[in-house]
């Protein structure tokens, strides 16, 4: 295989093998010459879909080495990925100290995040395990950027469906209690937990619905199901259980602090804020200071706005 000489996005996917996954009603198609390169991981299997035309098409190729990155740097995550702008599209480079300075994979994608080419670097050895091309955070970056083009938003939260009281969304930073909340509701109420860490919000027929994702938290809950959002709670640790209504502006800010918008682009960022405003127009939002035991569940069950 020759060294990569061009990062131009290929208009049509190439390869003999294809698989598709669907997360938050966003379908991603993987195409490659090898069946191994398109086979979803065990966690992704539940999100597999039979549809062949996808919202985002990614063609996977291996290369002996990746050229030094060029293009205008737009954003540095400070961790594994850097975003650049090049040839009218975007280029994400993924690098790890384990492999040195060069990227271990590179994604070139069009501006609307519908067509992409993923180059995997043969010079970056793994530990013998099969490499899943969309491995985190690439899959989530694709989805969040696609959603930000006027379609939806992903939030840092635990979404669950209680048979008696409907869909509840609990937002929180790391350590706020999302996984604890998921475990409590699942054990006490047999609630169906869509995810204990990442939820996608979308609008269907003027209603806000939440979708489960494969990107779970410590409790390991991940479901491809979806439900209408009845209430949103912003989690905080507390000495006692307390539900406090949030003014709309404050609610938008709290949601924004717990979502994953593309910070590099004015358009996607503006849409995200607008969409959060729409969400708070439709769904009541509260701050929930809670004690991490069964009383927290009772507090919500007995809360009637």
């Amino acid at each position: 295989m020759h060294a990569d000489t061009s990062d131009a996005v290929i208009a049509q996917p190439v390869g003999m093998h294809r698989s598709c996954i669907r997360i938050g009603d966003v379908s991603i198609g993987l195409t490659a010459d090898s069946a191994n390169d398109v086979e979803p991981t065990r966690e992704m299997t539940r999100f597999r879909t039979d549809r062949t035309d996808c919202d985002i098409d990614v063609s996977v190729q291996w290369t002996d080495r990746l050229q030094d990155p060029d293009g205008r740097k737009l954003f540095d995550s400070g961790s594994v990925w850097i975003l650049r702008e090049k040839d009218g599209g975007f280029v994400f480079d993924f690098a790890s100290p384990a492999f040195g300075r060069q990227p271990y994979k590179r994604l070139s994608v069009d501006r609307e995040f519908t067509k992409a080419r993923l180059l995997l670097n043969r010079e970056c050895p793994g530990d013998g395990r099969r490499v899943y091309p969309l491995e985190y955070p690439l899959d989530e970056l694709l989805v969040t950027n696609w959603l930000a083009r006027a379609r939806g938003v992903e939030v840092h939260g635990c979404g669950l469906v209680d048979e008696g009281t409907g869909g509840h969304l609990f937002l929180g930073h790391s350590g706020a209690g999302k996984s604890t909340t998921a475990r409590l509701w699942n054990s006490l109420r047999a609630a169906h937990v869509l995810s204990d860490d990442r939820i996608i919000l979308r609008k269907h027929s003027n209603e806000i619905w939440m979708h489960g994702t494969p990107w779970h938290g410590e409790a390991g809950f991940a479901s491809p199901d979806k439900t209408k959002v009845k209430q949103i709670f912003v989690l905080e640790h507390g000495d006692r259980n307390e539900v406090i209504p949030l003014p709309q502006t404050r609610a938008v800010a709290e949601l924004f602090a717990r979502c994953f918008p593309p910070f590099y682009g004015h358009g996607p960022l503006a849409f995200t804020l607008s969409f959060l405003h729409q969400i708070t127009n439709c769904v009541p939002c509260y701050r929930f200071r809670f004690v991490p035991d069964e009383s927290a569940v009772s507090e919500i069950l007995n809360f009637h706005g």
């Binding site: 594994v80 492999f99 899943y132 955070p137 994953f260």
Partner: protein, 75 residues
């Protein structure tokens, strides 16, 4: 990292003495003085840069040397 929030309270769009939102006249809401609130932001989480793996119980960020699947990405 903290982010300054937009203004709470204040006046919405007025038309003929009635607040108009989404094209439908509504009852006049009581005036609230504008105030600025500060919200705490977690940038390392918001940029999808954090993960957990078997060797760490918290965000690993740029020091991550595990290139396998993250046990609990950024949770």
């Amino acid at each position: 990292m903290e982010v300054v929030v937009g203004v709470e309270g204040g006046l919405s769009h007025y038309a003929g003495g009635l607040m108009v939102e989404d094209g439908a006249p509504q009852k006049k809401k009581p005036y609230e003085s504008p105030k600025i609130s500060v919200i705490s932001l977690r940038p390392e989480e918001a940029v999808l840069g954090a993960c957990k793996n078997s060797s760490s119980a918290g965000p690993v960020l740029g020091a991550c040397t595990n290139v396998g699947p993250c046990m609990a990405p950024g949770s």
